[in-house]
């Protein structure tokens, strides 16, 4: 007792340390079973603290371990991949949707044909012979007007999504490798869509969802004058649906209040070290499907995760470009080129080797403020006309 009186802080430290260790040990097989424990890096109690980052708290020990068991097996839309390729036909024909102008469909495959707004074809005011889409409504009208001629029936949402070619291995999981289990078929198919050049008013009915990279797009381009943004540093796909965005509310509140024409999403860098490609893809699919449910008429434009610079790529076991590519290849397969699209802004900011151009970044991960315009300019070449 005398000792305790003399040095209460020291004993409280000891006692609390022991208490946390007991709690961690007690929850090791229940609430903390997803925590990887590396004894060489710290004591057992570190899992208790690490778990708090994933919103698992010690007191959940006493409410029985029924946490985190509910999520799987909810959304699994891809029933079979037998006819997974049949949608190709659709995207071929979408090339011809615009204005019925024969000239435009002989345009090069890069998909830079442009759509005139209100009255198809005869608007030459945009100069240099390249009419641009003005205004979202115009684009919609054109789409619905001509869609009937050339487009096939609206494909049912969420069907025929390709299955992965293989599963991630245990080793890949343990080493935080995001395996490329889908291959580039999704990316290729998504690129077949004939995107058009648009002007800024195109984004008037757009919503951007993203992490700190999208924060940069919001803060350092004038897109925020047109579009709404749900973006937050450290956002992950796991948090998109739950996050309460400052000044905006949750995604659900926003999307139930307002119907958007386009929803852009780019997340995935923060959770690169978490789970496998399958885990990420499962959640991503759930998020996209949920967004669609809340805003059925909106086009969802999945943006491939922006890459990191070569320096980062070679030095980092987690935040590197092969992991990013593995995940991009997965989410690209969600694109049906009708409800969901996939675009990859990396082509606007990467060097020949496919790494984020070192000149455009200081921290090897984010675009410097002034270079966010490259991203915006890229987005303006990826308008959806139909």
């Amino acid at each position: 007792m005398k000792h305790l009186k003399e040095s209460p802080f020291f004993f409280l430290l000891l006692l609390s340390g022991i208490l946390f260790t007991i709690l961690a040990a007690a929850g090791k097989n229940s609430i903390y079973k997803d925590q990887q424990y590396h004894p060489e890096k710290g004591p057992l109690l570190s899992i208790l603290f690490a778990a708090m980052n994933e919103d698992v708290y010690p007191w959940q020990l006493f409410s029985e371990g029924q946490v985190a068991e509910t999520e799987s097996s909810k959304v699994n839309p891809a029933e079979s991949d037998q006819d997974g390729q049949s949608t190709d036909g659709t995207s071929d024909t979408t090339k011809n949707t615009e204005e019925g102008d024969p000239a435009s469909d002989s345009d090069d495959a890069a998909g830079n044909s442009t759509v005139s707004g209100n009255s198809a074809g005869n608007d030459s005011s945009a100069g240099n012979g390249q009419p641009t889409v003005s205004g979202n409504n115009a684009a919609m009208e054109t789409g619905s007007g001509t869609g009937g001629n050339v487009l096939q029936e609206e494909p049912p949402y969420g069907e025929n999504r390709p299955e992965p070619l293989r599963s991630s291995t245990e080793e890949e999981y343990l080493n935080h490798i995001s395996a490329d289990i889908y291959g580039d078929a999704g990316v290729k198919k998504a690129a077949e869509y004939p995107f058009v050049t648009v002007d800024e008013s195109y984004f008037d009915d757009a919503l951007f969802i993203g992490d700190s990279r999208t924060v940069g797009l919001h803060d350092y381009t004038d897109l925020s004058e047109h579009a709404d943004f749900l973006c937050k540093t450290s956002l992950t796909i796991y948090k998109v649906l739950e996050e309460n965005f400052k000044g905006m509310g949750t995604a659900e509140e926003v999307l139930k209040k307002k119907q958007y024409g386009k929803i852009y999403i780019m997340v995935g860098i923060n959770e690169l070290g978490r789970g496998t490609t399958e885990d990420f893809m499962e959640k991503y699919t759930e998020v996209v499907d949920t967004l669609h449910e809340w805003n059925p008429d909106a086009r969802i434009i999945i943006q491939g995760i922006m890459k990191v610079s070569k320096k980062k790529d070679t030095e980092d076991k987690v935040f590197n470009n092969s992991n990013i590519t593995g995940r991009n290849h997965a989410i690209a397969t969600l694109a049906d080129n009708y409800h969901i699209f996939y675009i990859d802004m990396n082509e606007a900011v990467c060097d020949e080797e496919g790494n984020l151009n070192a000149e455009y970044t200081h921290d090897q991960i984010h675009l410097l403020g002034m270079y966010n315009d490259l991203w915006k300019d890229f987005l303006m070449t990826k308008g959806i006309s139909g």
Partner: protein, 458 residues
């Protein structure tokens, strides 16, 4: 493991070491401290352990030689000359080693700079001069000298303790009250480092991420203030942890910071900031050169020398030289022109420090001189620092995000606040507060253990 604010140190090395240290008899405590320190150093920089050992041997050996020459009733002139020669030799050797490794780091590879070299070599120089001057009265044993040079709480970043500030094992205090105080300092330091400095570091990181050309002028000033606080709490926190560990081991507390931001002049600031380094330069460079008790021109020269060396010591870029030069210039101006007038302006002199010091830290922070120019252009846009893609709303955004940290940090800069807590450290409220600070810090440290980028989430 060499990071005091890391899980391995807090939960493995330190408790195990402390337990052994307390269990062994007094006469073996220094052996344990030496072995523990070498183990600690080796875990951080194995390849340079032999260098530390070699320098320790050289310095101990020369120290004994110098001492021997002074034994006897009266020193002859040849003895005096010989002592001086030997001192000059060993000090030049120490300085040369430092310079060689600095060169290697600049021109070959920065990983070639041994861990803690600039700190433990300064202790070696300090030891030689103190020994020469007779400030270390008794004969020293190899063990206690080796412990002094390598002791793990100080080997990496100081404080640069003097030899006679350390106590021999038999004179140290081994009581629970010592552990109690030491752990409190450690927890306070850990909190400053993890909860303030590391979090404020994200602001500076953000500014670099945005690019200095795109930050607004108010944000540039906020960034300078944030960096000033970050540096302060990083180093003060570190020093508190180091001294807290020493207190746990039975030593006296070594003060390294004494509320510098409450200073009334730049000169005073550097008597309160990294005090053990300032004291080193004062005692071993400035005063031997003549200090301020000489002609004015000579004093100006002395100050210039001290501040150029200070600049060089802090880093390998030109910006450090510039930083040292600017500080030297300000201190010379204070000494020669307006120092006395400043003393009569109570609030203005504080503002003078609070505006100028952050500007000098900006020079310290930005190693690329072009980028440094860009930053000053944003700080003072009247001089033509036009921004590119500046978001004028950025200040509010960051002020909101980091406001709490500025508030907490600002409060701790007020001398009375920390002193009050220190004085009432036995109060249950303070104890509980420190306990919360400790575990909240551990929460951050544990969370970032697996993935250091949890600090810098994207």
């Amino acid at each position: 493991m060499v990071n005091f604010a890391g899980m391995e140190f807090i939960f493995y090395f330190f408790p195990v070491f402390l337990l052994i240290y307390y269990l062994v008899p007094v006469k073996y405590k220094d052996v344990v401290l030496l072995l523990g320190s070498y183990f600690f150093y080796a875990s951080g920089d194995l390849k340079f352990v032999p260098l530390l050992l070699l320098l320790t041997l050289c310095n101990y050996f020369m120290g004994q030689q110098i001492r021997k020459l002074s034994e006897g009733y009266k020193m002859h002139d040849w003895q005096k000359i010989e002592r001086k020669r030997k001192l000059a030799f060993i000090v030049s050797l120490d300085v040369t080693v430092l310079l060689i490794f600095k060169m290697l780091a600049v021109f070959v590879d920065s990983t070639l700079f041994p861990l803690g070299l600039s700190f433990y070599l300064f202790k070696m120089i300090s030891f030689q001069i103190d020994y020469y001057r007779g400030e270390i009265p008794e004969k020293t044993s190899f063990l206690s000298v080796a412990v002094y040079f390598s002791m793990f709480p100080q080997v990496i970043s100081g404080p640069i303790m003097r030899y006679n500030e350390g106590t021999e094992p038999q004179n140290r205090i081994y009581r629970l009250s010592q552990l109690e105080d030491g752990m409190k300092y450690f927890a306070a330091g850990l909190g400053m480092k993890v909860l303030l400095a590391d979090r404020l570091a994200i602001l500076w990181n953000d500014l670099q991420m945005i690019g200095f050309q795109s930050i607004s002028t108010p944000l540039a000033w906020l960034g300078a203030a944030g960096y000033s606080l970050q540096l302060y709490f990083d180093f003060w926190g570190y020093s508190l942890m180091a001294s807290g560990i020493l207190v746990c081991l039975g030593f006296d507390f070594i003060e390294n910071f004494h509320h510098p931001y409450a200073s009334g002049s730049i000169g005073e600031f550097y008597r309160r900031w990294h005090m053990t380094l300032g004291r080193f330069f004062k005692d071993y460079v400035y005063i031997p050169l003549g200090g301020s008790r000489c002609r004015k021109n000579r004093m100006i020269f002395n100050l210039a020398v001290v501040w150029l060396i200070t600049g060089l010591w802090h880093g390998n870029g030109l910006n450090y030289l510039l930083w040292g030069a600017v500080l030297g210039l300000l201190i010379i101006l204070e000494k020669v022109f307006y120092g006395e007038k400043l003393k009569k302006l109570p609030v203005l002199r504080n503002l003078y420090v609070l505006v100028l010091i952050p500007l000098t830290w900006v020079i310290f922070a930005i190693t690329d001189l072009h980028q440094l120019g860009v930053y000053f252009g944003r700080l003072f846009p009247v001089f033509g620092g036009a921004g590119v893609a500046v978001n004028t709303g950025d200040f509010l955004k960051y002020a909101e995000t980091y406001g709490k940290l500025f508030l907490a940090g600002g409060l701790l800069c007020v001398p009375g606040v920390f002193d009050f807590l220190e004085k009432h450290r036995k109060n249950p409220v303070v104890i509980v507060l420190l306990l919360l600070i400790f575990w909240y810090s551990v929460y951050f440290v544990a969370g970032s253990g697996e993935n250091p980028f949890l600090y810098f989430q994207f």
